[in-house]
Symmetry: C2
Subunit: 363 residues, 2 copies
């Protein structure tokens, strides 16, 4: 059997720095656990634009369709702010999500014990927090047509279209229920069914899919109240399912609650391929952080934990994923901190490379 | 000169209870400060549906157009969950906002000194917080066409349209800049210009309006990052301007940061009427809280402070608004607490009525 294949797209800003540390981890698993991957690397975002004039070359897109999993660093930066909309770095990422049809975006918001003090929230509100947001990732207002800026009378109008079909809602909902079954059998669906018809359909379809999962306790919440409840008492939630745009905002809100933004990974999953593995892209929740790029300050853990998610969701290596996550927890418990994690007095931050090395050592 | 006119729409759930306390305050200003109002009362939301079969009768709508200001309690409740979309209690409120053309929704998120401990956030993160969110309220995905649930092939699709014209963005932006000029001359505009063309236009128009206010320091932020930054370090903001849907979520998130949800008022303002006063509707940020309705547990302060906003923005009675706000602060400093504000040991909650009476006494 050939080795499973990984396409690495470091992207922009701190992307290449954090990805360099992930490569060390991949190498470690190859050398020590017999888990060898065929790794190739390519460009996405501004880095692709600089070379190809587009944020994702067709050849890169084709490669992404063929590999077993894609690992992405981050895209975007002020250098590209004035590019035409269709050429922005973000379009490269959005093209990957759309053409690979990665409809289920798993975003854990987890508060690491060693970092509970670091949240802006009170420790008892967030300590032990472990929720999973399932965000629909291929539809909604991100992709709906018509869209654009049009002339209308003597002025312009900006238009985007929120659009969800029953089957789009259904497959996202089903992936959330499956996850809930493997966790605490509690799912909260969020929309604005009181204001948006797309939310009415969302709620109806989620309710219908829920009939197939009678063991899962399903609740519904308006997204504005969801934002409030996340801030007030996030531990009331276990799995949350929501649409593309609400998911973007609510998952960032949830991520920040944990105080561990530089720590949080994500998985974007699609339908199974011929070999049974799902189409998959893994990326940290944080962005490209242009302000600290190239300074060796970035925290590589979110990207490293994204690889752990790849082990779990793409390669059925749950035990190895656990091993990697445990190594990260050990490093944190030992007090190793990158600059973003400094709250305590008298701790000197380690560099991106040192953090990567510490995780390898802990493995 | 005739007395200024107020239309009171208590609505559903705790709406009538909290509004009863506001009436005491209105009476106090009439009796003691010579500020007499012509007050009329009518139905909105589920309460209107129960009587008229619609969530806002045409006669009520017509009255709202004629008065100097509308005070609204809250709308909605589980009893109405299965009503057709067009009959839901929320449609009554949305019709008022739309037909009165109340494009500028001011939502202060303020942390009251006496309640800083009550937030789920650390005290130093929120103590002294005083930000103002200006939410566009008459357009965007709340009102854009096409909208609805349609047949498409052999399934249904839910559609809503995000839609902003230049002039809609312009007037909302201008109201935010005006407010920033009267505050700390710092404005942050939030959208998703990296993903949505309507956000690109939003950013462009806000930037252009900003040229008229060179003293105001203008920044732009993606709405997902905005949610993060509100949780991480809310005091970095002074005035925030954003669209209808982002404003819904971000203002609720900001409100919850303060730990004072039962305390927060809002003003929805439109264009000046013939008498120079803006079209205006005032309402608490909290909802109808059906779970505690009718039990005398609700906190009337958000609704009372909404009347203070009316004094300031509709009736040019800034000093009287200050007086009312000071009375509320005094009551809080004295330790008077409704059930929603109980965090401390050994404090017995007062009822809705007792809280209203305490504010009158403090006046
Ligand atoms: C970079 C951007 C296009 C993206 C999004 O809006 O989805 C990001 O915010 C995210 O959440 O992954
Ligand atoms: C009740 C509902 C229609 C309303 C909204 O979505 O605008 C509410 O959440 C608000 O923020 O005023």
């Amino acid at each position: 059997m050939p080795n499973p294949s990984l396409l690495i797209l470091p992207g922009d800003g701190i992307g290449p720095e954090v990805m360099a540390e992930v490569r060390k981890i991949i190498d470690w698993f190859g050398a020590n656990q017999g888990l060898k991957f065929d790794v190739s690397e390519d460009l996405v975002g501004g880095a692709a634009y600089d070379v190809h004039g587009v944020p994702l070359a067709d050849e890169t897109m084709a490669k992404a369709q063929e590999v077993d999993a894609v690992l992405l660093g981050a895209v975007g930066g002020p250098k590209y702010d004035n590019l035409d909309f269709s050429l922005k770095p973000e379009r490269g990422l959005l093209r990957l999500r759309k053409e690979m049809d990665l409809f289920s975006n798993l975003r854990p918001a987890q508060c690491f014990d060693a970092l509970a003090d670091f949240s802006s929230l009170k420790k008892d509100v967030v300590a032990g927090l472990d929720i999973m947001i399932v965000r629909e990732l291929t539809s909604g207002v991100y992709f709906g047509e018509p869209r654009g800026i049009f002339e209308e009378g003597n002025e312009r109008v900006g238009i985007n279209t929120q659009r969800y079909t029953e089957s789009e809602i259904e497959r996202a909902a089903r992936s959330a229920f499956e996850l809930a079954m493997r966790r605490n059998k509690k799912l909260c669906s969020m929309e604005k069914a009181n204001v948006m018809e797309s939310g009415v359909l969302w709620r109806e379809v989620v309710t219908r899919v829920g009939k197939e999962y009678p063991e899962v306790e399903l609740s519904h919440m308006y997204a504005d109240n969801g934002a409030m409840q996340l801030v007030r008492a996030p531990k009331q939630f276990d799995v949350i399912v929501t649409d593309n745009l609400f998911g973007d905002i609510l998952s960032d809100c949830a991520a920040m609650l944990t105080g561990s933004l530089g720590m949080l990974p994500s998985a974007s999953l699609g339908a199974p391929m011929a070999n049974g593995r799902p189409k998959a892209l893994y990326e940290p929740v944080h962005g490209s952080a242009p302000d600290i790029a190239g300074q060796g300050k970035a925290n590589p853990i979110a990207c490293i934990l994204s690889f752990a998610m790849a082990l779990r969701y793409s390669f059925d290596q749950g035990a190895e994923a656990d091993r990697l996550e445990a190594a990260v927890e050990k490093v944190l418990a030992d007090g190793v901190r990158t600059a973003d994690l400094l709250g305590e007095e008298g701790v000197t931050p380690v560099s991106t490379t040192q953090m990567g090395d510490a995780v390898v050592a802990a493995l």
